[in-house]
């Protein structure tokens, strides 16, 4: 397995910083906007963005985590059942502008499930998508992100992993390529 670092910790920080300002550009003071991180890995992107946004804006930004396990389209098509993570959305999303947040946009199927799961909480005014990495030309569904950290070209056999200081020990984005690809 060949390993290539796409974003190092400095780049991850810069990218998150830019994304924060892009969000502020579109959502002003976040008075009618909520951010929702998709479990399991989108919540780490959300946690960082929340920290940055709150530092810039000087006020609390409403955030929640959404688990999409029960809305996936591959139940019974996998070897093992998927084990759900925690959903905590303790606010009303009816009429709100929602930004869904995930780490990697690949086939778009997770986001499709995420939209379904989100609508179980009410009818938002508008839903946008933010993703740290966009693997372009790999979509199975017509889904695109509104805010992208970095767009990359990948093969289906490759794997992109977003790693965090709190979990893996370092902030970075790594592309894994199998030897015979």
């Amino acid at each position: 397995m060949e390993k290539q670092v796409i974003l190092n910790s400095r780049h991850v920080e810069l990218t998150l910083n830019r994304l924060s300002y892009q969000l502020i550009e579109s959502h002003n003071d976040f008075s009618n906007t909520v951010l929702i991180g998709l479990q399991p890995r989108g919540i780490h992107v959300l946690a960082r963005l929340k920290m940055q946004l709150e530092a810039i804006l000087g006020k609390e930004v409403v955030c929640g985590n959404l688990d999409i396990t029960f809305y996936r389209d591959d139940f019974r098509r996998r070897e093992r059942p998927l084990i759900p993570s925690v959903t905590n959305i303790d606010f009303v999303i009816e009429g709100k502008n929602v930004v869904l947040i995930d780490d990697v946009l690949y086939t778009g199927r997770t986001i499709r499930s995420g939209l379904d799961a989100l609508l179980a909480f009410g009818r938002p005014n508008k839903v946008e998508l933010l993703t740290l990495i966009d693997r372009r030309f790999t979509r199975d569904l017509p889904i695109q992100a509104d805010y992208v950290g970095k767009t990359i070209d990948t093969l289906n056999s490759e794997r992109v992993s977003v790693e965090w200081k709190e979990i893996e020990g370092e902030d970075k984005v790594v592309l894994y390529t199998p030897e015979n690809a």
């Binding site: 029960f70 139940f75 019974r76 093992r80 059942p81 379904d116 179980a120 909480f121």
Partner: protein, 309 residues
């Protein structure tokens, strides 16, 4: 570990501790789901489930049906009272007829012990036991333990006494297995005639005095006296049973510590438990009912994951 070790849920006896913990972890998520504005997830859209009730039930049947519907499964209901069973059809024939209508899972309550296991060995669909005579009632035990875990933080190390008609109770047997697998200590308490002779071989304590049992325990699970299963008289009168083994506010308040009170329902108010105890804040009875739906969703979800496409 994210797969059940069993293909059917016929009894708690067959489950491992990991299985039970997996069911609880999944049920935590479903509990959150059933408190959403839209209480339904699309996971089981392509699954059909038959609820076969050869014995009366309101709570369990409603709970299973709600759990199935909240998972988006298609549901067909069957009760023996209004069926061809009365015309002499055998269990296997009845079930095979239902299965040929492309049913993927069967939830069954039956008056004969072992009926669920018998069925699971003979049909292609997944079987969930919703009570088989005086044998097991696995989902009830799971929701009881889940409710204890929710109220007290964990089941490990807790002391639980099961009071009443242990002899005829499938809830008691399933609860003993489930609580022991999770590391709790279990005691049974009741009149000598309603305690099975070899029950201590399951590793439970036996106590004939209600007050002594209550002073020992953290949780008291009060069972219903099942008059419909008692072919002979096991105690002189209901009034005498109530005097000896009924839980009232007076006893509860005189205990050295605050215990939790559970009841699998249906309650005979004023027999095994008085109204003020059933409605007190120490009572978990309504939590049990709410958790029943979440736990059954978890069981069905995890078993459905094993249905081959």
């Amino acid at each position: 570990m994210n797969n059940l070790s069993v293909e059917h849920l016929t009894g708690i006896k067959d489950l491992t501790r990991q299985d039970i913990e997996l069911i609880f972890k999944t049920a935590d998520s479903f509990k959150e789901v059933i408190n959403r504005p839209i209480k339904k997830v699309p996971s089981l859209r392509d699954i059909t489930i038959a609820n076969l009730f050869f014995e009366n039930s309101t709570r369990t049947r409603l709970s299973f049906e709600l759990a199935e519907k909240r998972l988006s499964a298609d549901v067909v209901n069957f009760s023996a009272a209004s069926s061809s069973v009365k015309k002499g059809e055998t269990l296997i024939d009845t079930v095979n007829n239902i299965l040929s209508m492309k049913v993927d899972m069967v939830v069954m309550r039956h008056p004969n012990p072992g009926a669920a296991k018998f069925l699971s060995e003979r049909i292609g669909a997944k079987v969930v036991n919703a009570g088989d005579g005086t044998h097991e009632h696995p989902t009830q035990a799971l929701l009881d333990a889940f409710s204890i875990r929710e109220r007290l933080g964990s089941v490990e190390g807790k002391k639980v006494v099961i009071v009443g008609d242990i002899l005829h109770s499938r809830v008691a047997l399933s609860n003993i297995y489930c609580l022991q697998k999770l590391g709790a200590e279990v005691m049974v308490c009741g009149p000598t005639t309603l305690i099975p002779k070899y029950i201590h071989e399951l590793g439970v304590k036996v106590e004939y005095n209600l007050r002594a049992a209550l002073e020992w325990c953290d949780v008291a699970n009060m069972l219903r006296i099942q008059l419909e299963r008692q072919d002979i008289k096991y105690f002189p009168s209901l009034r005498e049973y109530t005097m000896q083994y009924g839980l009232n506010k007076e006893i509860l308040d005189s205990l050295p510590k605050e215990i939790c009170v559970m009841h699998p329902g249906p309650i005979n108010r004023g027999v095994e438990i008085t109204s003020d105890v059933a409605d007190s804040k120490q009572s978990l009875i309504l939590d049990q009912v709410e958790n029943g739906v979440a736990v059954r969703m978890a069981v069905i979800y995890l078993l459905a994951a094993k249905i081959e496409r």
